[in-house]
């Protein structure tokens, strides 16, 4: 065996404590990487499988006025022709412009069809029959549309599991007998999937009328997307939707990403993205730690390397041996980390549902292992390189004689000689020489130098970071990436300020303290910025992130609780199995005249192509007061959730055109809508009862924390004028004695679920807690890694100062005095960390509440600066610094004899 490797391995075995902390640090970093990946993967898998069957391979939906089978076939014809241009004549657009004069053929107007990979027509609408509601979806299943497994014959239905139907069950719909051939978790509540012809018949549509055409566009950034997604599931959620530029330039056309009608998926992906971004932070901290470990090891082996060099080992051999030993450690740690990460993921997924109903399955994959190897092994080796490279400056690399530069460096205070004996100075010198004599190391060193060496002053980097922050925070177009880039930039700036801060303190505190010992301690703390800034920076990053996340979660929790207060104004809630709420409410009122009874209903629809939930009730003054609004709602007035306003680009006071823009339909559908069923979809809300151009006015905004779908609240009358009488399926009650109520319900409305306020409230809060369990766990993990990193750095520093310590002891310093020295030193370092971590944490909290949350979910949070949120991480960070300083280093850990 190579004697260098043999020596390195024995070194590890003989310094088990150092090796163990290093191993633990790397393993934790790897574990967090693996865990985040596995959790994200599991969650994103479960998100993808709940995609409704008719939209499974779809990227976009296209709508145009008067969309019907005719214009659909015309579109197909165009599509074929665009793909085989030689056979095509001039393409016309007039089929697609109902009610307009045929337009001149426009050059290139159909070019976007070249990107289309398939298309299929969709009809959807709501059907209310015998007090039961269905969300009917018709697709061209017979025509080979996706998914192939769901070929449907006529009069056969696939039912969503929420309908509670079983296979082979018969359904009477519109006087005909239908058979359930399959049940699925489609993600479409009350979904009933049928053939497109059947859907038109069921919904009594004017023949051939379509809701929209589902398309798959070739995504230009698909490669990047897949790559990002493989790197970290959910990461591509932050990218702007692909194909947005391919919008056909035709009047009244709307082509939008399928995500706009799948808000739950967007929501889940945003959660994934946030998780991923936080995981990256933990990874970054882990990288700092791994680097710190390498520095420590290099420190411990410097003397040894010098001697080996004198014997005649070449620079390459020594660097290689060192890298090999670090790699060996990295490999073991990676292995431990992979298993640890798997366990962690399984545990976290169990305690946290992250907002998902079904427990996602945690699965190992090759990508995870590769990622773990890169962060464990790769970063360890790269860190070892950097540790070598950092010992020399980048600027002088080319211009001067290498040895000169090295020698100068070896004499420069703060790099190799402060607190070191002469022998150590020479050691530094030789290590420098070893590092320098390597071409590839020099190149790497230049890079590492740029990144890690103290640029004096670091203002250039800080300026760039500030620009990044301003752009990321200020420009909404930068999306989640912008927000997280700003957070990352702020974190790196805070970390980069450590060295200047220590230098400043060194100057300011130079002669402070009457007590010579105290003065010594302060100087020791502030003198070694080169050795400590990486570790201290990582600690600041971790504490800052932890404070920020805690602030966000606490703010969220407060707002969430306040919202629950609004929502759960009644003592008891009844959930009906049908839409007969009106009748039940009337009966309750007459049976319990003193009670407060309010009926609620809701309907899913689309407005301007966005999926929206309409909630309705009788909005009396008492009801609106819960939302902080003083008057009863008038006809054609509505409350909008914050996310709805963001998505539709509206604000309070705006009016929204609430009239269907498809004049061609109206005459035919007016009669249909008079019945007690509703078909909705189309461009806005179709099948309206009256054809007038009334506008809906948004009079108030309410927060919609935790809601996946944008919401609009209005009077039941307003909704009925559009959709017909939809009925109510929930009732809020106050002032009725529970046992009496239950008995009464048995007779009057069997199958009704009774929920009490307290139970609902605690269930909601529990879901909330579970949702954020992963977030909190990751922040804590980052903190732990950072603490280990700092401990490693302190160990390096103290090994360096062994001679100094024995001198002090020789001078008669008692053990207690030495401990006090360490305590003061740790205190000063902890104070430095807090000084930078507090503003960073506040910034991250603000960014999460005011930038990330609105961009990801469409709601903003009031940042509440609760003491608990920032005090705990701070205390932890400070304690960590002190403990790392005071904790004994392993006595004989030094490699240099």
């Amino acid at each position: 065996m190579n004697p260098l490797l043999k020596s390195a391995l024995r070194f590890m075995a003989k310094t088990p404590w150092t090796a163990l902390t290093a191993l633990l640090g790397i393993a934790l970093g790897v574990a967090s990487t693996v865990a985040v990946h596995l959790i994200s993967l599991a969650v994103s898998d479960s998100v993808l499988t709940t995609r409704p069957p008719h939209l499974r391979q779809v990227t976009h939906i296209a709508e145009w006025p008067g969309a019907d089978m005719n214009s659909y076939f015309e579109l197909r014809r165009h599509w074929r022709q665009v793909q085989r241009p030689q056979t095509s004549g001039p393409l016309r657009t007039d089929h697609f412009q109902a009610g307009r004069a045929p337009a001149e053929p426009v050059e290139g107007v159909w070019d976007w069809l070249r990107e289309v990979e398939f298309m299929t027509p969709i009809v959807e609408g709501q059907l209310a029959l015998n007090g039961r509601r269905f969300q009917v979806v018709g697709a061209d299943w017979l025509g080979g549309a996706p998914p192939p497994g769901l070929a449907l014959t006529r009069q056969a239905v696939v039912a969503d599991s929420s309908l509670g139907l079983v296979v082979n069950e018969a359904l009477q719909l519109n006087g005909e007998r239908w058979t359930v051939v399959r049940t699925v978790d489609s993600g479409v509540s009350l979904g009933l999937f049928v053939d497109i012809g059947d859907a038109m018949a069921l919904l009594q549509r004017s023949p051939d009328t379509l809701s929209f055409v589902a398309l798959r566009l070739a995504e230009p950034g698909a490669g990047l997307r897949t790559w990002l997604e493989r790197l970290l599931p959910g990461l591509s959620a932050g990218l702007p939707a692909a194909g947005a530029e391919a919008v056909p330039k035709l009047p009244d056309w709307r082509l939008q990403p399928v995500a706009s009608i799948l808000p739950e998926q967007q929501f889940s992906k945003s959660i994934l993205f946030n998780l991923g971004a936080l995981g990256m932070l933990a990874l970054l901290v882990a990288w700092f730690l791994i680097y710190q470990v390498c520095v420590l090891w290099l420190r411990q082996q410097e003397t040894l390397l010098l001697r080996l060099h004198a014997i005649g080992f070449s620079a390459n051999e020594l660097v290689g041996g060192f890298l090999l030993s670090v790699a060996a450690l990295g490999a073991i740690a990676t292995l431990v980390g992979i298993f640890g990460g798997y366990g962690l993921a399984a545990l976290l997924v169990r305690i946290s549902t992250a907002g998902f109903d079904a427990l996602p399955a945690v699965d190992m994959s090759a990508v995870v292992v590769a990622k773990a190897l890169i962060s464990g092994l790769g970063v360890a080796v790269a860190g070892a390189w950097l540790a070598f490279a950092k010992r020399k400056p980048s600027a002088e690399a080319s211009s001067r004689s290498p040895t000169r530069v090295l020698e100068r460096l070896a004499t420069e205070p703060g790099i190799g000689r402060v607190g070191q004996s002469r022998a150590d100075g020479q050691v530094g010198h030789t290590v420098l020489a070893i590092g320098r004599s390597n071409g590839w190391l020099t190149a790497l060193g230049a890079l590492g130098g740029l990144m890690l060496r103290r640029v004096r002053p670091p203002w250039l980097g800080i300026g760039l970071g500030a620009i990044l922050i301003a752009a990321g925070m200020g420009l909404a177009e930068t999306g989640l990436y912008g927000g997280f880039a700003a957070i990352l930039a702020a974190g790196l700036i805070a970390a980069a300020l450590v060295a200047p801060l220590l230098r400043l303190l060194r100057r300011r505190l130079h002669n402070s303290g009457h007590n010579l010992l105290a003065r010594l301690a302060v100087r020791e703390a502030t003198w070694h910025e080169g050795d400590l800034s990486a570790a201290l920076g990582a600690l600041i990053l971790a504490v800052g992130a932890s404070v920020g996340v805690s602030l966000m979660v606490d703010s969220f929790e407060r707002d969430f609780a306040r919202m629950l207060e609004q929502r759960l104004a009644h003592e008891t809630f009844l959930e009906l199995p049908n839409q007969d709420g009106e009748r039940l409410a009337a009966a309750l009122r007459s049976a319990h005249p003193a009670a407060l009874v309010q009926a609620y209903g809701r309907i899913s629809t689309r407005l301007r192509g966005q999926a929206v939930e309409l909630g309705y009730t009788d909005f009396s003054a008492a009801e609106t007061a819960r939302y902080g609004y003083r008057r009863p709602l008038a006809e054609n007035e509505a409350f909008a959730s914050e996310s709805l306003l963001v998505k539709l680009g509206l604000s309070v006071g705006d009016s929204m055109d609430w009239s269907p823009p498809i004049p061609a339909f109206l005459a035919e559908n007016a009669a249909v809508a008079g019945e007690s069923f509703v078909a909705n979809s189309g461009l806005a809300v179709e099948n309206a009862v009256d054809s007038g151009g009334t506008a809906l006015r948004i009079v108030h905004e309410f927060p919609g924390f935790g809601e996946t779908t944008p919401r609009l609240l209005m009077n039941a009358r307003t909704v009925a004028r559009r959709f017909g009488d939809l009925g109510f399926d929930r009732i809020g009650l106050s002032g009725i004695d529970m046992p009496a109520l239950e008995g009464w319900l048995q007779d009057w409305a069997p199958g009704t679920r009774v929920r009490e306020r307290a139970a609902l409230r605690s269930a909601a809060l529990e879901i909330f807690d579970r949702t954020f369990a992963i977030t909190r766990a990751l922040a804590v993990l980052a903190l732990i890694i950072a603490v280990i990193g700092l401990y490693n750095a302190m160990m390096a520093l103290r090994l360096n100062q062994k001679a100094g310590v024995s001198l002090l002891r020789a001078l008669g310093l008692s053990a207690a005095e030495q401990r006090r020295l360490a305590l003061i030193r740790g205190g000063v370092l902890g104070a430095c960390a807090i000084l930078l971590a507090l503003p960073l944490g506040l910034f991250i909290g603000f960014a999460l509440c005011d930038v990330i949350n609105p961009r990801a979910f469409g709601w903003s949070l009031d940042l509440s600066i609760s003491a608990g949120a920032w005090a705990w991480p701070m205390l932890l960070g400070f304690t960590a610094a002190v403990v790392a300083s005071v904790m004994p280093t392993p006595g004989e850990a030094g490699g240099a004899n």
Binding site: P3, R307, A310, I311, G312, S401, A896
Partner: protein, 221 residues
Amino acid sequence: MAPVISLQGVCKGYGDGARYQPVIDGMNLDIPAGETVAVCGPSGSGKSTLLNLIAGIAAVDAGALVLRHGGQSHALHKLAEAQRTALRRRLVGYVFQLFNLVPTLTVLENVALPLHLNKMEERLSEAVRRLQGLGLGEHLDAFPETLSGGEQQRVAIARALIHEPPIVLADEPTGNLDAGNSERVADLLFTEAERLGCVLVVATHSPAIAARAQRRVELGG
């Protein structure tokens, strides 16, 4: 016969520009084969620096430094780091005052290091014999920390000589030892050098050791 080591106008200093401090300033020195030289002078006079220059660990700032061996001459001042290292492993044995041995390699493994570097592993049995001859036979598989200071220095000397280099450099090899051990170590160093006929350059404060050398080079303070 041409000298094994020759320095002509060799300069070496530390620091840049105005802070440049010459340590060795225009030194001329020729050492023929087999000669033993003591380099004397107070602390900080540049003894270690001189030895490092000869070993090629540090590069000269100005002047010529040539090593000759087996009919070939090597101009160190013209060679790059890597080439100097390659020469050093063949031509030079080095003994330090402290930290001589790799703490994580056994005594035998330490001595075998130069053999490994010079691809002379077949002489391992020779290393064993040599260590036994030094009374270290029981410690072959021991780690350096279990040895006394004097024993460690003897192992270091064995290691410096095992590949029979034409040049042996010793930097205050007895600086850390008591009188008795100093004497034994110095004995070993000089007799072995004589046996092999190599050049020995010893940096030392000790008059006793300086007296044993055939020639004495005084560095100014």
